[in-house]
């Protein structure tokens, strides 16, 4: 499945992820036509998002983008564009082959098609959310607007889980959640075989005699 993903499915998956991410960004309140996701000639993803007024008024941004001349108005940052390496969106599509491999390896039943379809949809949402979180974190780090203290620690932990754990774990959890037979294989206790009851023994004995 990894080979199929790498050689055949990667390009369409990246295209789909780009469209889904772009649409989600455009639907974001206040984003309008500013937000967009494009791919440059080297394959890196260029993400452009609006900067909320509350963020652009922060001191860090004013220091980064000072006024053009002495005594002039500070530069109003309305949007920011950042380039993200291609390997990141590629990495977030890894969840697809992992989910498909798990779902296809599970016992095949009539509902398996529905599991595959729903799981693929959920995995797409997960890939998009992971990419957007990564992009937001990268932009926040670049602008030095990451929160400090506990909130900052939780954000760092979230980013660690987003890029080190979620793409590998979520496909298996989605498969187990959606696939009842797979779930039952893990959580049901197998019926334990027992010795026949005395009545059955008697019946058998009688049959053998006859």
């Amino acid at each position: 499945m990894l080979a199929l993903w790498w050689y055949v499915l990667l390009s369409p998956l990246l295209g789909g992820l780009q469209i889904l991410t772009g649409l989600t960004l455009r639907l974001w309140p206040g984003a309008g036509s500013i937000a967009r996701v494009t791919v440059d000639s080297s394959g890196d993803w260029i993400v452009r998002v609006p900067v909320p007024a509350s963020v652009s008024r922060q001191g860090n941004l004013r220091q980064m983008f000072p006024s053009a001349g002495p005594g002039g108005e500070p530069v109003q940052v309305r949007s920011i564009q950042i380039g993200l390496p291609r390997r990141m969106p590629v990495f977030f599509t890894l969840s697809f082959p992992l989910f498909w491999a798990t779902a296809l390896a599970a016992p095949w039943v009539k509902r398996s098609w529905r599991v595959l379809l729903c799981g693929t949809g959920l995995t797409a949402v997960l890939a998009m959310a992971s990419f957007l979180f990564f992009a937001a974190y990268t932009i926040a780090t670049y602008l030095h607007i990451n929160p400090s203290g506990l909130a900052g620690g939780l954000l760092d932990a979230g980013e660690y889980l987003n890029t080190n754990v979620a793409p590998y774990v979520a496909p298996f959890l989605i498969a187990i959640w959606l696939h009842a037979e797979l779930r039952a294989q893990i959580f049901f206790r197998e019926p334990v075989e027992a010795a026949p009851t005395p009545q059955q023994t008697e019946r058998r004995r009688g049959r053998y005699r006859g």
Binding site: Y168, R189, E190
Partner: protein
């Protein structure tokens, strides 16, 4: 003819499964949060670094044992002949998948003895596979950089996760077959 044993030891009814699943998911999430919190806490970082360097030392020793050339330089394993080095970063020391296995085993309804055995055997298996992964990446990187990237980012990470799932699954099957799963009410 084979028969199954009485109702008190029968497999749980369909309505018990969501409850068991829900309980597992809640405990799994709680244990995951606690263990990842411990892994990422500043207080545990020196210990994590020592552990990571220890893995690099063992890897380099294994390479030399089989006739290869490698030296451990902190968290870096280097070939002194061509100075190619592979760094064992925080996510490469098998801690992530170990935590996932621990959270799953601790959340699963089993006796404490079974859990202890599952944790010990599972952790050992994960780190044996991780040593193989690190050593193989050391050789693949010297051979082809593109293959190294693919093997490092996608192939080995997926295999490690799959291996962890298989270890957990095998352990869960053993627990189910032992018949004590339904009796274990505490995590």
């Amino acid at each position: 003819m084979k028969t199954t044993i009485g109702s008190s030891e029968r497999a749980p009814a369909g309505r018990d499964l969501p409850m068991r699943m829900g309980r597992f998911l809640i405990l799994f999430t709680v244990f995951l949060a606690i263990l990842f919190g411990l892994l990422l806490a500043p207080a545990t970082q020196p210990g994590v670094r020592v552990f990571t360097r220890g893995l690099v030392v063992v890897s380099a020793a294994l390479v030399r044992l089989f006739g290869g050339r490698a030296v451990a330089l902190g968290d870096l394993m280097e070939n002194p002949a061509n100075h190619f080095g592979v760094q064992m970063a925080n996510g490469c020391n098998g801690a992530n998948v170990t935590i996932l296995l621990w959270a799953a085993v601790l959340a699963f309804p089993a006796s404490w003895r079974q859990k202890a055995m599952g944790l010990a055997a599972g952790t050992a298996a994960i780190h044996v596979v991780n040593l193989l992964r690190f050593i193989s990446l050391f050789y693949i990187g010297q051979y082809n950089r593109n293959w190294f990237d693919f093997a490092h980012l996608y192939l080995w990470e997926s295999l490690m996760m799959l291996g962890t799932l298989v270890i957990f699954w095998m352990w869960a099957v053993l627990v189910r077959r032992s018949g004590s799963m339904a009796d274990a009410s505490a995590p």
